[in-house]
Amino acid sequence: MSVSADLDWTALSVCIFFFALVTVMGFGASRWQKGTADHAHLDEWGLGGRNFGTWITWFLVGGDFYTAYTVIAVPAQVYAIGAQGFFALPYTIVVYPIVFAIMPRLWAFAQRHGHVTAADVVYGRYGSRGLELAVAITGLLATMPYIALQLVGMEVVIKALGLTGELPLIAAFAILALYTYSAGLRAPALIAFVKDIMIYIVVLVAVAFIPYKLGGYGAVFDAAGQAFAQKPPTPPSGLVLKASQYWPYATLALGSALAAFMYPHTLTGIFASKSANTIRKNAILLPAYTLLLGLIALLGYMAHAAGVKPATPNDTVPTLFRTLFPGWFAGFAFAAIAIGALVPAAVMSIGAANLFTRNVWKAYVNPGVTHAGEAQVAKITSLLVKLGALLFILFAPVQYALDLQLLGGLWILQTFPSVVFGLFFNWFRAPALLLGWAVGFFGGSVIAYMDGLKPLHTVVIGGASYTVYVGLLAVLANILVAAIANVALRATGTGTARTAQGM
């Protein structure tokens, strides 16, 4: 590790203090919220005993869904292209009616049969090892680049503190890996309290103090509008959308909302809840974070108003904070973002470990594995998953992680029909859903690849062309193919109802 000339000792000290605090909490968390069932069991390590009430769930899911990378990337996009980057707002609003309608049923089914993962639920519902494996592999593939992105978020902050080299990142991640290993989901759940409160403080101070310094919100929007007016027409940028951006905006919002709670890390928060009503209440209370996200997004415009010139869009927020805040508060903000990366990274590695343990190890390697054995396999898997993400970030170009995360959103969306439809009606058969998944997964990937790994694809219908989110397109094809295949299966009498567990 080397130290650059613009090292800010005050900011660094504050940052290290908070990091040390959450490290102690992480290791202490194994004793927190522990009931009478203290034996080694995947329900304990991987789901915190399935006993998280409304407030713990609120902090955990809030800390896990609104990741550190969001805090960096959303303002970066808004800084660079304006209104289009704001699609994260409608996305994180319409996601909650979806959660309210679906997730209590998913929770109840999982709870009744002891399911730990989405792939467990699918196997329970359809009794198909093939469909279970498809859902499990998709979850694992989609999660890995997402963990890597949390590291990108952390790297940005470490750089802003004036530290260079890979050692700080490796150290932070090693600590994270160890306390996740020992405390399981309880560690990020406890740390989420600290992280979320810190982020709330940072954002509330930022959105009050920065516009006050810059002459009010009117002046902030005016400055951003003028900056966009001087940009070339492509890529389109501005304070409102161009007509060509309507479809991309709406379909990115809807597609992302449908995908959001199919990820292993968000589902882990759902499965760990105490009751179905815990989830319903959270669908009402979690939008508070969306309000926060909307304000975070506006930091991109504040950067224009402050005349900040970040080296890359991702440096927008750190540069803005370093310019406008005193060192100690910038350090506090950077600590909030860095800790904000730890919570989702921990939950993601736990979600991935649960999937591997239940749907690969137990299903194919050792069907007779004990509860204690499951917990042990999951703990080791969580270490390996994090190590993989770290190596990826250290040795592969960052753009790979971004590209894979984009594909990951498309991939995880393809599990929606298999995971959700069976909770509401008993019409689809596993082979049809598997065929639909394959079409959506591979077809969508090929289209995204041919478009140069862009999230948008232009389709021409009756002479008019529409540019839409490729993931949404893929899941429509997925559902269509599954429905047609299902009609064919039922007509020929093959693939008859094979429902292992009823609702």
Partner: protein
Amino acid sequence: MWVLLLLPFIGLLWVPFYNVATPALFGFPFFYWYQLAWVPVTALLTWIVYRSAGHGDEP
């Protein structure tokens, strides 16, 4: 009552309806404050559905 949950989708996914700068509110162009306003409105609508379904009495 469940139909209330469709309103945020209509209000937010029909983009041309709100893609304008005016009227501004507290310096926020319409595009921004309209979408931000949907956050509490959606929470309220969900709460109404929650109450009407009788979930408020469950643990």
